[in-house]
């Protein structure tokens, strides 16, 4: 087999391979470190952190669905100060490359979070989560509103300056994803994370009420993979130069390559780690083998490959 260069870049950040944790699916990193060295991943995308500690939504917080699951966590977390004090030093100690995910209830909160992170060393990029479906008021999902999305990213860009790459995480639950993606890129996002979970609901027939404590939840897992591949494909087609971190139901090397061919420069794995703690690390190897089998010597040659075949025809 030929050797394959798996390295990738997102904005000005370099990663040795394109496999990342998905925000909210690796907790602080310590939990997965029992199963493999975090350093062996492309990077760790941390759970979206807010200004203050947050208890999240009541239980039940999850429901298994066909080839997927709904979650309704509600951004439970320690708050930015405790996160910077405890979680970042741990990840640095593990020599993990870190993408910090931030979430806010207001445009100002995002800027505040960015300001606190500006002086923290050891971070490769910031993911701006403007699309968490598990907030109290669905109207607060910035990524459903082109204008609010732009204003959040603009605020973070101004605060953080030109140093750290900004990745805007978007929701597929919109009428025109490409126009929202274009808006946040114009406002200063260096890259995009596609997709957040898809809003869903399960009704419990014993109680005849919504099963989840938060009523609605985010659908993840293989059930949403075709939606994610479509979203990455559409956005890459419209903006081929903007790096995309692709996610949504990726469970193995085959799925990762599908996402890369659609246009992703990196791939995040979330729900698959719940069922297989080794999913992230086995995907790195599977992807390498698969690229090699297909004759690729570099990951970069495979990014967006599905578009090139189309043009050639």
């Amino acid at each position: 087999m030929t050797s394959v260069d798996l390295s990738t870049t997102i904005g000005n950040a370099w990663f040795p391979n394109p496999i990342f944790t998905a925000s909210g699916c690796a907790s602080s990193g310590r939990e997965l470190a029992q199963f493999f060295p975090l350093h062996d991943l492309g990077g760790v995308v941390t759970k979206s952190v807010m200004s203050k500690a947050r208890t999240g939504r009541p239980t039940p917080r999850m429901a298994e669905t066909p080839s997927g699951m709904l979650n309704s966590i509600g951004l439970q977390g320690p708050g930015i100060d405790a996160f910077i004090a405890k979680d970042i030093p741990y990840l640095i100690e593990q020599k993990a490359r870190i993408i910090v995910s931030i979430a806010g209830e207001t445009i100002e909160e995002y800027s505040t979070l960015a300001r606190k992170l500006r002086s923290v060393s050891g971070i490769s990029a910031i993911e701006v989560n403007i699309s968490c479906p598990n907030v109290e008021n669905r109207g607060l999902v910035f990524a459903c509103d082109p204008d609010a999305s732009r204003r959040v990213i603009d605020g973070v860009r101004r605060t953080i300056g030109g140093e750290l790459p900004i990745i805007a995480k978007l929701s597929p639950d919109v009428t025109d994803l490409v126009s929202i993606a274009r808006g946040v890129v114009d406002a200063g996002a260096d890259a995009l994370a596609l997709i957040n979970t898809v809003l869903g609901m399960v009704i419990n027939l014993d109680t005849m009420r919504p099963h989840l404590g938060g009523k609605t939840g985010g659908l993840s897992g293989p059930a949403i993979r075709p939606i994610a591949v479509r979203a990455v494909y559409q956005v890459h087609e419209a903006m081929p130069k903007v790096p995309i971190l692709g996610m949504g139901g990726i469970t193995n090397g085959r799925d990762a390559l599908e996402m890369i061919a659609a246009g992703a420069s990196g791939v995040s794995i979330g729900t698959a780690s719940f069922s297989n703690p080794m999913a992230l690390i086995s995907t790195v190897q599977e992807l390498k083998d698969l690229l090699s089998t297909k004759g690729f010597t570099s990951l970069r040659d495979a990014i967006g490959f599905a578009h090139r075949i189309e043009r050639a025809q």
């Binding site: 909210g24 310590r30 939990e31 009541p58 239980t59 999850m62 066909p66 698959a272 719940f274 069922s275």
Partner: protein, 278 residues
């Protein structure tokens, strides 16, 4: 900070026994040397449905007992109620079938350093891990009494060999089909008064654990309970299995029942806030 699940490993393991016991299945699984690091209270997370299954999440089961020196090497025993799609699949697996496991996970029951009197209370198949616990407590010199309860006789799990480790066993069913008619929690308050019980260990439905805690909170008895909340991962990354638990200062936070539990000190669990927004 202590390592999380430092003994846990993901392995493929062979089923060496699967038999029906009342309404439950007793599964014996060969887990090799991992049996040596499993403690009463720990659980296992099992992939269900096979490779092409649409069931993406592992199922968590309490380890009821381990043996380190069977003819198969180290084994663990699970008592499984086939009441959902995943557990039905598991109960249908024949001897010789391979399962993918992550084990051992979670906290274990604390064992007293002194040979004190203890009471074990189990609801339904929640009794299963208590028999393995009873053996360990018995070996420590503790006097072990046990109460088991269920809605009906078929849901009582009380194996003959398990009874050897307990001084007394009383059974309660709500329909009176086995033992005394009533709830397993009925005699606890009077037993606490009559005996010098230092610790109550409990495993079963949350309503039972909460009822026990309402009794122990009025006494000096320590209540170690194995909690139940639906889990997606079992290893601490999904944040779905949380329960409201107070710390020493009284501050309440949502702790994961997979890594801060399943065994928790009942006195700190905020039973009235379970399932409520904080």
């Amino acid at each position: 900070m202590a390592l999380i699940n430092k003994n846990a490993a993901q392995i493929n393991a062979t089923i060496v026994g699967n038999q029906r016991v009342g309404q439950y299945h007793q599964l014996i699984i060969n887990i090799g040397d991992l049996a040596q690091v499993c403690k009463p209270g720990n659980f296992v997370a099992i992939s269900v449905g096979g490779e092409t299954s649409g069931m993406v999440l592992r199922r968590a089961f309490a380890i009821s007992r381990v043996s380190t020196s069977t003819t198969f090497g180290g084994t663990m025993e699970l008592i499984v109620a086939p009441h959902g799609q995943g557990s039905r699949w598991l109960c249908a697996q024949p001897e010789g079938a391979t399962l993918n496991l992550v084990v051992p996970l979670g906290t274990a029951f604390g064992i007293p350093t002194e040979p004190v009197q203890v009471l074990l209370v189990g609801g339904g198949y929640g009794s299963a891990p208590l028999f393995g616990l009873a053996e360990v407590l018995n070996a420590r010199g503790c006097r072990v009494d046990m109460l088991l309860g269920a809605s009906t006789a078929g849901k009582i799990y009380a194996p003959m060999e398990g009874k050897r480790a307990v001084n007394s066993l009383r059974i309660y069913t709500e329909d009176g089909s086995m033992g005394q008619m009533g709830r397993v929690t009925d005699p606890i308050a009077s037993l606490i008064k009559a005996m010098d019980i230092a610790v109550i260990y409990s495993c079963g439905p949350m309503a039972m654990l909460s009822a026990i805690n309402a009794i122990t909170s009025k006494s000096d008895v320590i209540h170690q309970c194995a909690v139940e909340e639906s889990m997606a991962c079992g290893i601490g990354i999904c944040m779905t299995c949380v329960l409201p638990v107070a710390d020493e200062t009284g501050a309440v936070s949502m702790l994961r029942s997979c890594i801060d539990g399943p065994v928790m000190d009942g006195a700190y669990v905020q039973w009235d806030k379970v399932g409520q927004p904080l």
